[in-house]
């Protein structure tokens, strides 16, 4: 087993609202090896982004607060670091790109300055040297005529170009971990795959690790080797890419996969309705005594409503948080 670059242990993040405590992230553990791409999948509001923000200590507080757990980066506990030390990790060791390239760039600053900024913050080099480095990175993210673009403003670039600029900005200090929070969601499909292959190329080239947060299983299939599925603040399944698509264990994961339209599914002659997962995500505010997915689960047992299942190993590299793990063992078959 390779050494883990990032290790999140039992992380809980709570949001204190007037209506009560929202458990946005509920005892989440995950790890990323050096050079690995980990996909973090789940629907909106399941705690993906909060998990990634807490790695960098960027949970808006108040109302958010890391309630418990540890986050180790390269063996160092990020949670015990002071704000100052943490600031030197951000952008240099771990950087992040966001979903909306339209709003993630400052509209009144030329893009060159924005790409150069992390360099000036972390390496204290002159603006001129930083801008030269920025040109190189704009070139590497395949922005044509980078010297000219340096002085342009974000509104002069298309969405795909802006996301490339964001990537250049995140990569400019050569981070060891890049967190990409829905990096392609706001882009056209053709641009999506260009951006994904650009990130994959940079990962390969620099040997960094990549935490890819998305709700798009297609993106995961293209990029990740290992996938973590989150639901309502919890990790419900961890699996290798192949296992995830071929042998999904958790009913939620199965539901997700069934809800993807497949090319050719109607070619067999019968019109098939796309399966959706019935019901809605439980509110993070009310404490659920049983499994959080119980109300929507097609294969719910009595125990599911009473006690919460733990994350159990199913086979090498695959874990799921479901009571089925217990039953299938006893009955000697996989459900």
């Amino acid at each position: 087993m390779e050494e883990n670059l990032l290790e999140i242990e039992d992380l809980s993040v709570h949001f204190h609202t007037p209506e009560g405590i929202g458990r946005a992230v509920d005892h989440v553990s995950l790890s990323i090896a050096k050079g690995e791409t980990l996909g973090l999948v789940g629907e909106s509001g399941c705690g993906k982004s909060v998990t990634s923000l807490s790695i960098l200590g960027l949970i808006p507080s108040p109302p958010g607060r890391i309630h418990s757990g540890h986050i180790y980066f390269d063996g160092k506990d990020l949670r015990s670091m002071g704000e100052n030390a943490l600031r030197h990790v951000r952008g240099r060791d771990i950087s992040m790109i966001f979903q909306e390239p339209m709003t993630s760039l400052n509209p009144v600053l030329p893009i060159g300055r924005q790409v150069a900024e992390p360099l000036m913050v972390h390496h204290r080099i002159s603006r001129q040297a930083a801008l030269e480095e920025a040109v190189q990175w704009l070139n590497r993210v395949k922005i044509p005529a980078p010297e000219k673009r340096l002085h342009e403003y974000p509104h002069q670039l298309s969405g795909g170009m802006r996301q490339r600029v964001m990537i250049a900005m995140a990569m400019v200090c050569r981070p060891r971990l890049l967190i990409a929070d829905e990096p392609t969601t706001a882009l056209d499909v053709s641009i999506q795959s260009q951006i994904l292959s650009l990130m994959e190329g940079l990962r390969h080239e620099t040997g960094m690790s990549l935490l890819l947060i998305t709700h798009d299983l297609g993106v995961v299939a293209q990029m990740a080797k290992r996938v973590v599925v989150m639901y309502a603040g919890q990790v419900v399944e961890v699996a290798g890419l192949q296992d995830l698509f071929e042998r999904p264990f958790h009913p939620y994961t199965q539901g997700l996969l069934k809800s993807i339209p497949r090319l050719g599914s109607r070619a067999a002659g019968k019109k098939e309705r796309l399966k959706e997962i019935k019901g809605t995500v439980p509110s993070l505010l009310d404490p659920v005594s049983g499994c959080k997915f119980a109300d929507r689960c097609p294969r719910v047992f009595d125990v599911c409503r009473e006690r919460q299942p733990e994350l159990e190993a199913i086979r090498d590299g695959q874990q799921a948080r479901c009571w089925k793990t217990q039953f299938s063992e006893r009955s000697g078959r996989y459900a």
Binding site: R87, V89, R90, G91, M96, E117, M169
Partner: protein, 274 residues
Amino acid sequence: MKKYFTNLNFSLGFALSFVVIAMAVISFAWTPYKPNAMNARHRLEAPSISHPLGTDQYGRDTLSRVMVGAVNSIVVGLVTVAIGLSLGVLLGLISAYYGRWADESIMRFSDLLFGFPAILTAILITSILGPSAINAMLAIGIFYIPVFARLTRAVSMTLWEREFVAAARASGASEWAITIRHILPNILSPLIIQGTIQFAVAILAEAGLSYLGLGAQPPHASWGRMLNEAQTFMDISPWMAIFPGVAIALAVLGFNLLGDGLRDTLDPKMVKVR
């Protein structure tokens, strides 16, 4: 630059402000007569070739005094806006960043200042500190602090929620660096617009204070002061009042139009509406 001049407000405002500023600048090098030189033989004269705007009760040349008065007005505008901008922006940034009790106390302080009728309090301040040009500027400048504080707070509060601030944080920028490099450049254009308009208001306010004798002291030329002195001679020499009055009106109109024009051209949302 061209897009500015296609805007009528801006062009007109620019032309008027330019005339006022040009008068002030030229007055440093040249005025037709010494602005404070009296001449008993040419008192209360109507406009003529030798005195284009006439003379006052001491025979001083009105054109020269209007020109020097322009300097006075511009200095007042600059100083008051500088006081308001520096303290107001600082308080507004603090208010928006820290929120809670800092925000609450700064904004209530602003409300308090706004609650008083501005000119009355300025009169109060100048009568306590003693009437002088500097105290008049101070009194007006203090009233500008909440104007800029509120504007800065309102605009920067929404900016802190924007994604590029999150992106800057994620790349390791300190809160201070974000304020300087990301927040300030974004609030610059509303500040410039507001500053131009407050500049015009300051000219008017100073003229008012000087008219009441609380601003610039004689023999120093100030448009408000000149109006005050002209009052006694309204019947026999209306010229004395008309020209400083016109100067005040044009300067205030000019800088107001300039501010309006800047708002139309600098604010992309306003352009789309048109």
